[in-house]
C-alpha cells in the first residue's frame, strides 16, 4: 500500500429520460428494435435501469427481461435475459449482440411466441447524461472511505457500473484507483467481484467500504 499520487475524484451523473421513437408490441418487434435502436437506448434499459431500481435486491436486472415477464408472460426468456451481467461488456455493441442473440434463439424455438401481443408495449427510451462533481476528492485511503460513505448511490453507480463503458476495461473506477494509485490489487479484485444483481446499491457501497477498511487495517 502506498500514498496515492492522484486523488480520487468522486463524481456523480444525473440523467434526463428521453422517450424514443421505437416501441415493441410483440417479441418479434422487440427483436427487430433491439437491432436498430440507438446505443443509448440499450444503455438506458440495461446499465441505467440498475440505477433507477438500485434499491431492489432481487428480481430486477434489466428492462427487457422485466417486460418479457410482466407484459409477455415469457418467464423462460425473461430469465435468460436477466442472466446477462452488464459488467461483462466494455462496449454497448457487445451487449446489444448478446441481447439480440438470446431473443433470436428463443424465437427460433418458440416461433409462435413472436407474434403474441404483449399486455403493454415496450417503449425504447434513452437518457441525456450530465456528469457533476461532488465535494469529495480524497488523496488518502481513510478519505476515500469517508467519501465513499457519503456520496449518493448515483455516484456509486457512476463509478462502479457505468465506468467500464468509459474505461473500456473489465473494471471500475474504484478498483482502478486502488490498484494503480494505492497498490491494493487484492482489494481491487475483490471489489470487482461484488454481485450487483443480488445487492442493492447501498449494499454494494457497504461491501466496498468493508473491503477497503479491511485492507487499511
Amino acid at each position: 500500500m502506498r500514498k496515492p499520487d492522484k486523488p480520487f475524484y468522486f463524481n456523480t451523473s444525473e440523467h434526463l429520460l428521453r422517450i424514443g421513437r421505437q416501441k415493441a408490441g410483440t417479441l418479434s418487434e422487440l427483436w427487430q428494435a433491439l437491432q436498430t435502436c440507438p446505443d443509448d437506448s440499450i444503455f438506458q434499459h440495461t446499465f441505467r435501469t440498475l440505477q433507477e431500481h438500485h434499491f431492489i435486491r432481487q428480481g430486477f436486472s434489466n428492462d427487457f427481461a422485466h417486460w418479457c415477464l410482466s407484459a409477455c408472460n415469457e418467464p423462460v426468456l425473461a430469465e435468460q435475459l436477466a442472466s446477462v451481467d452488464v459488467r461483462e461488456f466494455t462496449a454497448i455493441g457487445g451487449l446489444r449482440r448478446r441481447m439480440v442473440g438470446i431473443v433470436d434463439d428463443f424465437l427460433q424455438q418458440h416461433s409462435r411466441s413472436g407474434s403474441n401481443a404483449a399486455h403493454e408495449p415496450f417503449y425504447f427510451c434513452a437518457a441525456d447524461i450530465v456528469v457533476l462533481p461532488t465535494p469529495f476528492s480524497p488523496d488518502s485511503l481513510p478519505g476515500f472511505i469517508d467519501g465513499l460513505k457519503q456520496v449518493s448511490v448515483h455516484s456509486i453507480h457512476h463509478h462502479f457500473i457505468e465506468a467500464r463503458l468509459r474505461l473500456h476495461l473489465m473494471s471500475n473506477d474504484f478498483s482502478q484507483w486502488l490498484e494503480e494509485e494505492v497498490g491494493l490489487s487484492h482489494a481491487a479484485a475483490a471489489i470487482e467481484r461484488i454481485d450487483i444483481y443480488t445487492n442493492t446499491m447501498e449494499g454494494v457501497r457497504q461491501q466496498i467500504a468493508t473491503i477497503v477498511e479491511h485492507a487499511l487495517n
Partner: protein
Amino acid sequence: MNSPSEDQRAAVSNSSTDSLTEAESLAETASPGPVRPEPARADGRRLPASVLTPPPPAPSPHLDDYRNIIGDGPLDALRFLARDLKGKSIKMVNSTAVGGGVAEMLNRLVPLLSELEVPTHWDVITGGNDFFEVTKAFHNALHGSPYELTKAAQEIFLTYNEQNRERLQFGEEMVVIHDPQPVGLIRSGESSRASWVWRCHIDLSNPDAHVWEFLRPFVERYDAAIFSSQSFARQLPIPQYLFYPCIDPLSEKNKDLPDAVVQKICDEFGVDRSRPIVTQVSRFDRLKDPLGVVQAYKLAKKYVDCQLVLAGGGASDDPEGAVVLQEVKEAAGTDPDIIILDLPPWCALEINAIQRASTIVVQKSLKEGFGLTVTEALWKGKPTIASAVGGIPNQIIHKLTGVLVHSVEGCAFQIRYLLTHPDFAKRIGASGREHVKENFLMTTNVKRWLLLFRILDRAKSRRGFGR
C-alpha cells in the same frame, strides 16, 4: 416568487387534472369556500368539527427542508446544476393560477427554482368564455372524445393565443408552455433566443385526429416536449422527455406525522388501529371502482379480519358522485367494519393520517391518469395493491414495489396474502418508498427542469442563436 397577478387570475380555467388524478381535487391548496352545513359520514356518524372548515395554507418549504429526505448528495447536485445556470431565467405559462394539478405543481416548483437562483416567472393566459368552451372541447377531444373541429373554433383558439402573445413578454432564456391552451404562443419563439418547451400534462395516447393535426404544427416548433408517460408521447421531430408527476414530501398530504396525530384522527373517524386497516383514497367515482373494492374486502374477510376505509370526496359537489356514494353505502350495508368518509377537498392532513394508519392501501381503479394517490401511499411505505392501468405500472413493479391486480378476485387474494405475510408486505412497502424517492418527488422534478434547461441551453449555444 413571481406568481400570477390578480388580473391574470381571471383567466381561462381548464383544469388539466385528468391525467393527474383525483389527488389534485383533494389538494390542500383548493380555494376555501363558505362553511358548509355539518356533513354526516356516509355511515351516519358525524364528521369531526376539525374538517368542516379549511385550514390556513401551510408555508411553502425551503430547499434545505428537503435535506433530511433526499440527503446531501442530491441537494448538492441541485445547487451545482443551478450554479451552472446563473444569470438565466425561466418563464412558465399555463391557463390558470388556482385550482388543478398544474397550478398546484407550479406553486411549489416556482419558489424552489427561484431559491436556487434560477429566477422563474409565472404567467397565466387570459381569455373569454368562448375560448374556455373551445379549449375544454379540445381537452376532451385530445382524450379521445369525438369532436367536430370547426373553422370558428380554430379562429377563436388562434385569436386568443395571439392576444396573449402580444400581451406577454418573453425575455427569459427558457420558456415553458403548459398544456394545449397556450400552445400557440410558440410564434413568439421564432424571434427569440430562448429555448421553448411544451409541457403536456394530459394523456395524448388516443387523441381526436383532427384536433391533434390542428395543434401538432405548433408543437413541432418547440425545442422539446415533455410528457408524463411514455404512452402519452407522439411521433414528433423534436426530443420528447419523460417527467413523471410528483408529490411534495413536505406537503400536508405527505409530511411525517406524529403518531399521536394519526391516532387522534383515527379516533375521530372511528378507525380501530388495533386491527388491520385496508384503505382506498379516491373520489366516489365509478372509474375508481369503490364497489369492486367493497367486493374484494368481503371476499378477503372470509379468511382474514380487517376493516375497510373508503375515504374520498366529490359526492357533495357531483351528482354522479352522490349516486356512486349511495351505491357504496348500500353495498356496505350494516357492516361496522366498512368506514365510508366523504371528505371536503381541504382534508389533506386527514388523508395523510388515514394512509399512515393503514395496513394496506388499495387503488383498484378501472382507469387512471398517473395515480398520485398510489405515489402517496408508496411514499408512506404502505404495501399497495393497485390496478395495472394508466401510470400505475410505472410506480408499482409487481411484487417488488407493490402488487398489481386485474380483478376483484385478484385484489381480494392480495389483501389476504399481504395481511398474512407481513414481512413480504413490509419489504415491498420499503421498496415502494425508495422507488418514489428516486423518481416521483418534487425535488426530482426540480432536478429534471434544471437538467433540461442546461441541455437545451448548451445545445442552443452550440448551434448559435436562432431556431
